[in-house]
Every structure is written in structure tokens, then in C-alpha cells.
Symmetry: C2
Subunit: 210 residues, 2 copies
Amino acid sequence: MSKLPPKPAQKTRIQHQNEQLILEAALAVFSAYGYRGTTVDQIAAKAGLSKPNLLYYFRRKEDIYVAVLEHTLTEWLAPLRLLDREKDPIEELSAYISAKLELSWRNPAASRLFANEILHGAPHIEKYLKGALKELVDEKASVITHWVKEGRMRPVAPHHLIFAIWAVTQHYADFAPQVEALLGPHLDHATANQAAIQILVQGLKPAESH
Amino acid sequence: MSKLPPKPAQKTRIQHQNEQLILEAALAVFSAYGYRGTTVDQIAAKAGLSKPNLLYYFRRKEDIYVAVLEHTLTEWLAPLRLLDREKDPIEELSAYISAKLELSWRNPAASRLFANEILHGAPHIEKYLKGALKELVDEKASVITHWVKEGRMRPVAPHHLIFAIWAVTQHYADFAPQVEALLGPHLDHATANQAAIQILVQGLKPAESH
DNA sequence: TCTGGTCTTGACCATTTGATCAAGAATGAA
DNA sequence: TTCATTCTTGATCAAATGGTCAAGACCAGA
């Protein structure tokens, strides 16, 4: 919650740099071991700082966690904002799936951090889920409903469609060890991308379109 | 790994009963707080035993965890075995999705325990993933390929289809706080079930079938 | 160079927690 | 009832861990 760094609203060069180091290290460690499984020492070591020095920037372990979590949420949700009701639903949803998959490949740690938080009851982001997130999702759900009404896609429960897209795309990050164990060396981003789009979107094309 | 309970292969009535209590309590606590977030005291309290007494049945905390995890895997995978290559693919896959969803509603703790384990690198079940699980999944993937070859369903990457089904169905257990926050009181099992089947399976119907 | 604020750290503390153990209580077969 | 085995627990320990603090090093503007 409180960032600590002393009085001045103005950040020092060193402050900026070290906070960045800490956030990057914390993301890696928290996402790998969970909140309770992570020690302040681990984060400090990964960031190349001493433990007291790290605690100079973030007074409590929880402050680091919250900072990393909030820092991640924005990026993670950005693609959803792009859904445009004026454009073609199939193309829009396909693009959204691709964007989410790209995030999973590029930053799996962020996905896992988020998954872990929710898996354990989302104690730090309850307000966010019921506030900003719900607002955005409800809006995009209405876009889907709009598409359905216009006959541009088959009827579907919009919220559940969004859940399905999230579930499938984040699965490749969150369950990576399982995916790799089962696909072996055959794991290919392009193939996964194509399969995900086909599975999730094929059935939504309006009846007359093929 | 090692179960401890002394020499006799024969289990006492009390042994059987207390081990059961412990496994149930451990599933609840581990799935809620993760491995590191769980204390032996918590499990003992939930099971109604003293800590030393609990450690009489399972020597180490990790032994309890492994026992619960293995105990869960079998049940969790059972529905997949039922996929029958001789029957209709759409009906078979729909039934599989329903069965998996039913598990998520009935035993979300098991789903979360499993998700947490994989999320953190699957350190305890690596062999299982690459062994028994891979074997089963490869076999069922070949069933899907068989269906495709016979033209009974559209071409699809079989492993990715299985991933998608897992992802969507388990999402309702693993991300329950998010689902509830976004659906509010509108969360309805039947609706979710219908939506999941439609989204995942609709696009797989062969072209001429509608 | 001087100086006030910023940054860094070794030493330390209190608490939590996994695990042990000896001693006693309960159990059940003969 | 007897008694060997199984079961239970209060007391205790060592290690891990989040967090503090005082003292010193460093930095940048005047």
C-alpha cells in the first residue's frame, strides 16, 4: 500500500533505479514461489541488494507484493480494451486471443503471479475485481451481446466467452510445466495460437458464413 | 513418499480413521493457502488432532502433501479415460466437459491443489506428468485424430483441444473469486455448463452437420 | 570543499514453524 | 485381568524469517 520512500514526492535517480530492480526481482520470485513461499532475502539477492536495503524502499514484504501486482494488472488487461463493437466480431476476438497468448509467451511470470493471487482468494485485489475489472468486462460483454443481436455472431453467454478466452490463453503460461511435459518438443507458439483461435472462435461464426 | 505408520502392513481402525481425517483437512488447507502457506498446526487443528499426533501418522509435512496430491490425481483424471473412439465425438466431448465441470463444482479444492502444484513448477509430480498422464493424453489425442480422419469432426490439434477443455472447465474452480466477482449472483452452473460446451464444441461439428 | 540529505549494511531481535522425544494413556488380543 | 502394542501429547529445539536500528558511506547542490 504505502510506498515508503521518504518525504520528497520527487524520486531520486537511485530510487527509481532500485525500485525497478526490486519490482523485476519480486515478480520473478513471487510468481515462482508464491507469496508465502518467497522470502525477502530471495528478492534482495535477485535484485542484488542487501535485505535491509531492500526494506528501505519497501517497508514490508506485502508492500512489494502489492506494488508488483498492481504494476502487472494494467498491462495484463490492456488487450481487452481494444475490442471494437464496430468491427467484425470474429476478427476482433481472434485478435484478442492472439494478443493474450502473446502476453502469456512473453511474460508468463505476470500471468502466474495473477493466477496465484486469485487461486488463494484474491485477498489483495478484491476491490479491483469488483470495481474496475467488472466495469470493463461488463462493457465488453455488452459489445458481444450487441454483435449477437445484429446477427454477426452466434448467440453465446458473453461473460462465459470471456472466461473461456482467459482460461485457454493463460493456461499456456500458468500450466507451462504440464503443457511442456505433454507436448515435449512439439510445443510451437504458432500452432497453439492457431488452435486456440479455431477452438474458441470457429463455433461463433454465424450459420450462413460457410 | 514414505508413509511411516509402523511396521505392520495391516492398518488399525484408528490409523485408517485418522489418516482419512488428516487427508481431508490437508486438502482443505493446502488448497487454500498453498504448500508454504500451510502450517502443520493448521492441518492438525482442522483434523482435530494435536501436531505431534498428526506427525505420528505422517512424519513430514511434505509426506502429507504428496499423499493428498496423489490421492487427488486419480479422481481428477478419471473422466478422460471414458472418451470412446467408437461413439460420436461431439457427444463424447460434451460429456467430458460436463464431467470435468461437475468435478470443479463439487471439489474445487482438489482443482486448486493441482493448479497450485503446477503453477509452481510441478516439483512433486514431474514423473507423473511425463509418465502416466502423457500416456493417457497421447492415447486420447489419437482418438481425436481418428475422429478427424473419419470426417466426424473438423480438423483440430488434439492436444490443444484437450488443453482448452481443461483450461475452461478448471477455470471455474481455480479462478472462482474472479468468476464470482464478475458474475455476481448470476453464476449458474447450468448456464456455465451450456456455454462451455457450446464454445468449445460448436466449432468442431463437421461442416455439413447444420 | 562543505554539508545535509540519501543510501547502505552488519548486527540483532521476536516470532513462527517443522520436527523430536520421553512419558503416559488407550487399545485389544489372549 | 494382563500386557505388549499402538496412540497421544506437553515440553522443547533449531532453523528460518520478517523486520529494526544505529552507524557509517555516498551523493549532489551550494
